[in-house]
Symmetry: C2
Subunit: 331 residues, 2 copies
């Protein structure tokens, strides 16, 4: 290379209720390191805000992603997706010059879709719908946390799954293949054999544990379990009610804009997103439904990169290319 | 009186998630004392099983009901509705000869309706549906506790109310008069001014606190609030799904038996019970819907009285008469 990348790096963080993803790229937009830590990981922590936002989970994801950086000279480290980090998260060799770029949760998905206006329908551990019109009006609804809100979230799906399993033997109409895997998962969370769902739920379970059941529900719905499919559809309908209010509040019924899937459920559950898209089209038929393929942490970095000094002019293009390349490789 | 009542008394206990009712009657069936303690009472306690089942609440209700007994000679005290009581609940003067008569939660309502077969649809802090056929087959579904089950319970209603209040400003279609009273109630529970619903719900609120909101919902539904009415109807439909499974499981579609309301919601919310009755009649049209008027603790005593020694032959008649008398007085 004639123009070697300067010793400036970008560390992006995407912390959800269930996991933290960390991605390190250089000033040209090339990937240097990546790390994840989730509730399924022995190194993860627990917390009221969910495992993904615990200090242990964050530390482990950052440690994994920054390992390749340690032997290098690092003059400036841009932190994308945070206004600050606890003192002991980063290795001392990296903290010479830290520049923080906080990114609102809606900005990452917008950046992934290269959109300046549109709708973000987020269903991860939590859930919200965000809208921004072409003239800059904004509305974000829900994100109220489990029990109170987060309609259509992974927590919502997990709670419905637990309730469905508790009723499965009441009548043949409730029969579901979710019984065995959900009971096993809840027992593992509590590290107790033979613990019943009643005891588990009376103790007000961790939100990321409940949310992590959404993956099981999606797998069983995809394999044809009717109860699992109905759970996903009811949850999608929950997010749709939030969507309905955002569209009405911003007068977007006729908007010709992207509607971007965000969060693991909206991005990865085909059944969920098809249900949501189908019903959303009846409310705002000209919205274009988009499921971005790069990881969400890429969107965080892209959104933050607009305000970064010292990175290449084609930083965003290069970073996007890393994932288009992957996509081509994997078909 | 030519036949003075012997020094034998009956203490009945009805402990729910939100309150404990205690009633003391003599061997003739005449009321001697009564006491209640609920989550609205400064003397009540809190607990995972709800305020009504806490030791403090129990002690206070018993203290109030047994005060008139203390100056009397008490040879035997029948305890209806318990298999045991903690040591320090009763005054020493009353514990010479205690005889415990545990009563299943379904038996009190059955006794109030003078029924040996039928359906009990209970919606109090918790919820269940119990059925017993004329040939003695039984099925009881739900009673699974908050979050996991208790479909159609006061907790279910309270949680729906909190969620509705959090959404009330999203769009005019969500407007409800519940906002102010529900927010005030939740602030009072936490004894914190300005505390938001988000913080309240993140801390996994006490089930009896949430359940106590059902009274507010019923009052506002009765005053014409559409959201409050829909909450009651959705909850009633939840209990109905449990009812549907009990009727199917016991093959009671054509049964000509009583269906008895139990629990504060089913007994006291006219809107709730009308919705439930209306839909239940489509499932099992020959069931006779009954809302007993005496307090539920009377049913506990009536159910237990079948196995009591030393009480008058017309004990049950006399005790029932005490409430028919009241009813006549109050119109």
């Amino acid at each position: 290379m004639t123009d070697p990348s300067p010793p400036i790096y970008v560390l992006g963080l995407d912390s959800g209720g269930t996991k933290t993803d960390c991605l390190v790229v250089d000033a040209s937009g090339a990937i240097v390191g990546q790390g994840s830590c989730s509730v399924h990981d022995a190194a993860s922590g627990r917390g009221a805000e969910g495992a993904g936002r615990s200090l242990e989970t964050l530390r482990e994801a950052v440690r994994r992603a920054t390992e390749p950086l340690l032997p290098m000279r690092v003059d400036t480290l841009h932190i994308a997706g945070r206004a600050s980090l606890p003192d002991d998260i980063l290795d001392r060799r990296l903290t010479e010059n830290l520049v923080y770029h906080p990114v609102r949760e809606c900005e990452g998905p917008m950046a992934l879709a290269n959109a300046s206006a549109g709708v973000v329908a987020l269903a991860g551990t939590g859930a919200f719908v965000y809208g921004r019109t072409s003239d800059g009006r904004e509305l974000c609804l829900d994100a109220l946390g489990p029990l109170l809100g987060d309609s259509g979230s992974a927590f919502d799906i997990g709670l419905r799954a637990i309730r469905a399993v508790a009723r499965a033997h009441w009548h043949p109409r409730h029969a579901t293949t979710l019984v065995e895997p959900v009971q096993r998962a809840c027992q593992q969370f509590h590290r107790k054999e033979g613990m019943g769902l009643v005891e588990y739920m009376l103790e007000c379970p961790d939100r990321s544990e409940v949310a992590s059941l959404a993956r099981i529900v999606d797998a069983h719905a995809s394999s044809g379990d009717g109860i699992a499919r109905r759970i996903l559809e009811e949850a999608a309908d929950g997010l749709l009610e939030t969507f309905r209010d955002v569209v009405a509040g911003l007068d977007m019924v006729d908007a010709d804009l992207p509607c971007i899937a965000a969060g693991s459920v909206a991005r990865k559950s085909r059944i969920y997103w098809e249900r949501f898209s189908d019903r959303a089209a009846r409310i705002a038929p000209r919205l274009r439904m988009i499921v971005p393929t790069p990881p969400e942490v890429v969107g965080v970095i892209l959104a933050a990169s607009r305000t970064m000094d010292g990175i290449a002019a084609d930083f965003a293009l290069r970073l996007r290319y890393e994932y288009d390349k992957d996509k081509d490789q994997h078909g």
